[in-house]
Symmetry: C4
Subunit: 489 residues, 4 copies
Amino acid sequence: ATKLRRCIVSPYDPRYSAWEVWLVVLVVYSAWISPFEFAFLTYKKDALFIFDNIVNGFFAVDIVLTFFVAYLDSQSYLLIDDPKKIATRYMSTWFIFDVCSTAPFQSLSLLLRNHGNGLGFNMLSMLRLWRLRRVSAMFARLEKDIRFNYFWTRCTKLVSVTLFAVHCAGCFNYLIADRYPDPKRTWIGAVNPDFKEERLWNRYVTAMYWSITTLTTTGYGDLHAENPREMLFDIFYMLFNLGLTSYLIGNMTNLVVHWTSRTRNFRDTVRAASEFAARNQLPPRIQDQMLSHICLKFKTEGLKQQDTLNGLPKAIRSSIADYLFHPVAQKAYLFREVSQDFLFQLVSEMEAEYFPPKEDVILQNEAPTDLYILVSGTVDLIVHVDGREKVIGKAIAGDMFGEVGVLCCRPQPFTVRTFELSQILRLNGTSLMNTIKANPEDGRVIMNHLSIVCGFIRSLSASFLLPWLNVGFLSYSFTETAGGRKNGF
Amino acid sequence: ATKLRRCIVSPYDPRYSAWEVWLVVLVVYSAWISPFEFAFLTYKKDALFIFDNIVNGFFAVDIVLTFFVAYLDSQSYLLIDDPKKIATRYMSTWFIFDVCSTAPFQSLSLLLRNHGNGLGFNMLSMLRLWRLRRVSAMFARLEKDIRFNYFWTRCTKLVSVTLFAVHCAGCFNYLIADRYPDPKRTWIGAVNPDFKEERLWNRYVTAMYWSITTLTTTGYGDLHAENPREMLFDIFYMLFNLGLTSYLIGNMTNLVVHWTSRTRNFRDTVRAASEFAARNQLPPRIQDQMLSHICLKFKTEGLKQQDTLNGLPKAIRSSIADYLFHPVAQKAYLFREVSQDFLFQLVSEMEAEYFPPKEDVILQNEAPTDLYILVSGTVDLIVHVDGREKVIGKAIAGDMFGEVGVLCCRPQPFTVRTFELSQILRLNGTSLMNTIKANPEDGRVIMNHLSIVCGFIRSLSASFLLPWLNVGFLSYSFTETAGGRKNGF
Amino acid sequence: ATKLRRCIVSPYDPRYSAWEVWLVVLVVYSAWISPFEFAFLTYKKDALFIFDNIVNGFFAVDIVLTFFVAYLDSQSYLLIDDPKKIATRYMSTWFIFDVCSTAPFQSLSLLLRNHGNGLGFNMLSMLRLWRLRRVSAMFARLEKDIRFNYFWTRCTKLVSVTLFAVHCAGCFNYLIADRYPDPKRTWIGAVNPDFKEERLWNRYVTAMYWSITTLTTTGYGDLHAENPREMLFDIFYMLFNLGLTSYLIGNMTNLVVHWTSRTRNFRDTVRAASEFAARNQLPPRIQDQMLSHICLKFKTEGLKQQDTLNGLPKAIRSSIADYLFHPVAQKAYLFREVSQDFLFQLVSEMEAEYFPPKEDVILQNEAPTDLYILVSGTVDLIVHVDGREKVIGKAIAGDMFGEVGVLCCRPQPFTVRTFELSQILRLNGTSLMNTIKANPEDGRVIMNHLSIVCGFIRSLSASFLLPWLNVGFLSYSFTETAGGRKNGF
Amino acid sequence: ATKLRRCIVSPYDPRYSAWEVWLVVLVVYSAWISPFEFAFLTYKKDALFIFDNIVNGFFAVDIVLTFFVAYLDSQSYLLIDDPKKIATRYMSTWFIFDVCSTAPFQSLSLLLRNHGNGLGFNMLSMLRLWRLRRVSAMFARLEKDIRFNYFWTRCTKLVSVTLFAVHCAGCFNYLIADRYPDPKRTWIGAVNPDFKEERLWNRYVTAMYWSITTLTTTGYGDLHAENPREMLFDIFYMLFNLGLTSYLIGNMTNLVVHWTSRTRNFRDTVRAASEFAARNQLPPRIQDQMLSHICLKFKTEGLKQQDTLNGLPKAIRSSIADYLFHPVAQKAYLFREVSQDFLFQLVSEMEAEYFPPKEDVILQNEAPTDLYILVSGTVDLIVHVDGREKVIGKAIAGDMFGEVGVLCCRPQPFTVRTFELSQILRLNGTSLMNTIKANPEDGRVIMNHLSIVCGFIRSLSASFLLPWLNVGFLSYSFTETAGGRKNGF
């Protein structure tokens, strides 16, 4: 949305894009009609003549218009709207080709019909195929545009190329037969000696039929070259076909490989997990957790997302984390009343993960490394008493767990298991400690919050958790860290 | 095994799965019979008419049934059994298509035969091909199901698609010939002018023969298009074939690449190892150890397994380690009488590895980094005296080795070499030290165990190991660590 | 540019390369003319005879010349110019083949025509095809030469192989027909019984037409084997074609996969970013930053460059960094007057990165980890006051930012956002600190520079930055580091 | 070389391997002759009959022999030589198939010729094709055997499969024509009505010609199906061909991709380096160093070797390092007289690298991180005086450099540049320090050696190196480390 000079159009203007699409439509028409006219029609002043010149007119307009369209400079990544620079750039690149492909050679040929052979002028009209560069450019653009499916874009391109090749080859082959002195010794005349009297439609279909029979290498042989001239054309067409067919197959292989790679990765991962489970005779509960975790990871494409984020520079990642996790983190009881700067530094260390239903997030007695904030879903807090599991609570969105383990350097007091699909923020304990060290005031706020919840847990521990809570709660290491810092400032 | 409402069937119910398989069988029948009836048979009230309507009936039943089948919600990953939601979902997706593909248009056409052209109604019966989406969905399911071999699933799918294409093209091509005004100017009539009097079987085989000759691009040319109508059909069929053939080849390439990738990786790894050994003229004993290690790793797919485990979240990995290694670890002499929590934290740091026969696990005098517990198999303990190897003992399943080196910070006292295929648990020394630091009481238990074995080793050292044991056994670093902690609590 | 003995030519001498290219041209001529002469021409003393012998002469000269060309030893990587070694090497490798392929067997056959069958001698002239190894070697060289496009080199090679196969097969098939006792029962005679009276051009085109019709598996059938001898030849040719076609398709697939891989990676990365943005409903500003960063990274191939550098040994990397970053770094105010050695160690830790316009490099309040030097472009310094952004300054090429955060261990005082495409050097704070520790004198110089800028920032802080600057500016940690070092020396 | 029971043969015995190869030869003969006899020959008591029964005899001998061949148990990886287990294993797997494929059904048919149709017995003789599993097993073995080239093994396999398919299809198609009631309405009879009187060779070649024309989809059409029976056979053959052709192409693609991947990686790496150099206008000297380093790395496959080593367990790596580097390291002056254990721990930390001529290994003033021992080749020691390079010495195989920088924590005193291709051992400074810490006595020995060289360097410094040597040579950090340790023990 940069402001451009008056009279200069941006290449991203939707009206200019529409104009370009319209030109592509005209190009497709030109590409089809040019070889067709060349082979099947006698050129004369009729409706088609007028229509052709109208089409030519549009392209002439475009040549003029190009002088008023800004372009993106490849060095500075800025839109250049200086008319002089625009003109210089165009004149030194496509200008001459565009003019040649627009010049009305056929109309000229009509004027000069008496003075020379029309074939030469018709050949010149083949210059119009230069316009196909627009189609090629459009496909290159579409392939990079993720709004369009890559598979179908690519297929459309391949089908277009194939159809155009078939059409051209059919037309030229007919032209050769049409101009051959002995109509009976031509590919079409050998079957139907009076082919020139046939309906245009029938002749065109026959030419197309021969062309595609050859391109697909079916080669029925009902229509085949009868004279050296046709043989020579066939030799080149078949060589070209060999390349085109290889190219089609190569592209299809490429697409199939890409297409099936996700399913294949999924299968390989699931199989490796299943084989591992089977070989070690893991109990079904663990097996289910493994498989549902893998399935979820593939469904949410968790891996890809992480790669995407890691590829971005730190400032963007911080922006994203701030936008996504700040509202959640500031509602967590531990981080209430802490400074915005502290939270800002903290959220850039957080990671979001999805857990399927019934999966363990924390195991009781595990060494604590992370603390978690529940973004959505529900988790059960479970303790093992006498070998049986007992649900002692539920945590809902906004709750935090694992913080007691991390901040007090204690094994985790309970197992945390998801009840439904849950999104959970994970914060590494070491990162938290480092951030607290750098912001001692906020550390004190957090310690106050923690001492409240400790009271609650201590009361719980009376019934269940006594064995592991009989040592002083706030461990030496935490006190030292926070305390030492306080003195330092 | 979630409880659903009465009258609502789970989509995972085995009876419903059986019903779905039965419908797929009917779909296959429909897909084959529909084009065949269309091209070769005159529709009238006979056995086939009744059979067709019975098949239709089953699909009608399925439409009704679908209103009573729960579905998995893609947001919450829960089975939805609310009839209203089920109905809304079905009505807004496939319902209309299902109804159209089930409506008995042919029976209607029979009633109206006198009043209109039957071709239109026959065309409508092509709507039944919509049912093929069930086959497509089934293949998508099978491809993700690791109980079925991916290669054969994929091949079956490709063969089915090919056969269906051949069948349809053959039928339609026959239809064109059958309806053409001049039977002699048709692809089949040119060879056999009285083809309409031929047996149905012969006509069908001829149509299939033509169809497959064209699809495989063999194109003998004994049967070929004779009129523009057939040429046009051939053009489209050949274009389609070009795509289909590319698709088949692309898929096959994909499968071959995947199939051979394991052998290829194996070869590459073995070759790299052999070349390395040859270039450096390694002695045969080391060379054998390298190759047998690589072979075993590929046979047990050790690499893949480790990747699988690393992809899982920590809690699941801890569960698995606890299940697998706890029984072994608690029998190891060093960990007898330690607390369950300590063991739980320890096993999550352990890794299981396989060693082929005659491979060195530890080398004498090596810097110690890991300790090992033997899960299965036997290992020899070897010392080098005067340049010769002497076996001083054997360790069997449940024994531990390398612990003296790690806990006393001494070079390993003997070489440990496997006698047969052995599974060995590895525990990193640093992890063990960290866990001991966090659990000082258990550390004391371990030190007691260690002092006993030290006595044994010291007595050994009298004969063999004297040179490196003349310094105090329990090294300064270990004492400091454990002692410092003791004071800290 | 090593000095060689007199009379010995370097293989890298441009004149020798020109000679080799000339020989390749002659080889191409030989490869085409040999089968052609063999099949279509009666050998006699005419212009062609003389021309052939001239060509042979060139190859004879090359045999002699080879004794005077140095070669690169594969062990020591040195050019060997000892004539004895050169001769030994040549005699023990290609010498005999080269002589055989140069001997004028055809001229001899002319002398002996009366005494034996000419076919045997003609067969011997096929030995000339041995010369093709030069073409093969040339293609192997071209493929590794990055001045030539891999795709076109490979395509040229494949087309050459295909054309040569077509040419040879056509010639040999004609030869078989030509020598067959019954001309009417040959592939060409069945269509044109008087084919031997046809013009040479027509016969050659017909042979090529048959050959390519078979190679591409089109197989019209207008020309086909008529006797067992031809059938046998066809069997082998078709088997060969099966291999060649597979090889062509395999190569094309390979090229297509490689070709599209960049677009595909780009699409996948952009899609992953877009999906992530859409799922998390990120604000458009962050979304734009993400996408323009990804686009720029692909355009400048930032990833590949980093890989290239990492693959090089440390000394080369240091040389490069010194060459690239030294002039920029020594102009940065912080590093003015520091010693060259200090700068040398510093620049090898720097990394250059490009940032698109409007992208955040540093966010206000972010934890500081890196300092930056602007190489080119402009950046805005922005502070957030009351939730609104305020530009407080601009930095131009040569300016440094982020250093206050890093050296004073403070959150970054302002957001830094690029104004246009900018290249920025990044230096990790820890690396800087380590280098300062090892060079205490230079550390003191830097501190002096820093204290000046601090004064400036403090004056700024009066208006905007007061809230976070009320603590002493030079933080404890930096003082301690530098001070402690000062005492240590 | 394990000792087996008497009468039991090891599967790895070279005589048994020879016997297996001989059987494979017989299998190839059987596979060719069985379809051929079936289609072309009338079975009677002639030389072929006797020959066939001799071949059968060999296979009968093999069935008996198999009971005396040990096998490798897949669980314990041990050779099992218990005759009972061998018998059980064989009886429960291939025994019945082997017996059926060896039974002389044709000889029986000869006895019963009068009483029934010979076709059934001939069909039974097709059971001999079961023997092909031996060929399949042999190819699977060859593919994993790195002594054989993968490409050619795979190609041979594909060609064999293709030829066998062609042979079988040709024979069966001839059989159908031979048994058809109306010889004129068969594929061969339509062209040559008296085909049954033709020579066997001509009939066989014609059948092969048809078969391969169809397989390669050339389909000339001169020979084509004439009756429904042949059409049906063709349909199945063409479907099979579609699969086979896809399989061939898939394999070829796979091989081509693998084949070209090395060249391609090389190109990509060189291009990335060249582009980087061009974009940054690096001076030619650095550019040459980059390119020659990359070329050397690809030639010596340095990357692969490192991967191979990293995949091996620690003990094997230590063995290799000890074998390779011990002789070199103990000759280095710094490590003379140190204990063997110390050296053993040190060499496992070393890495060998190749450097091309004229490449910098160390740059003057670089921060020191590694020390180097020259294994082979020569390096120049260079100092920069007044911006010019001056060679102050040469190091030859066995010399050490960089140790002063590492052990005295000083920037490197001179640039080290290779003179010719050199192999250099690299030892990380930190690893050396850690090993010295663990072996204080050896540390003292090393310090003594170092003080001698320091004297030498100090004397040098008088002329060149004064500026950076004016501080005390043995730096504080090293003294502290070694000294602190001395006290600790």
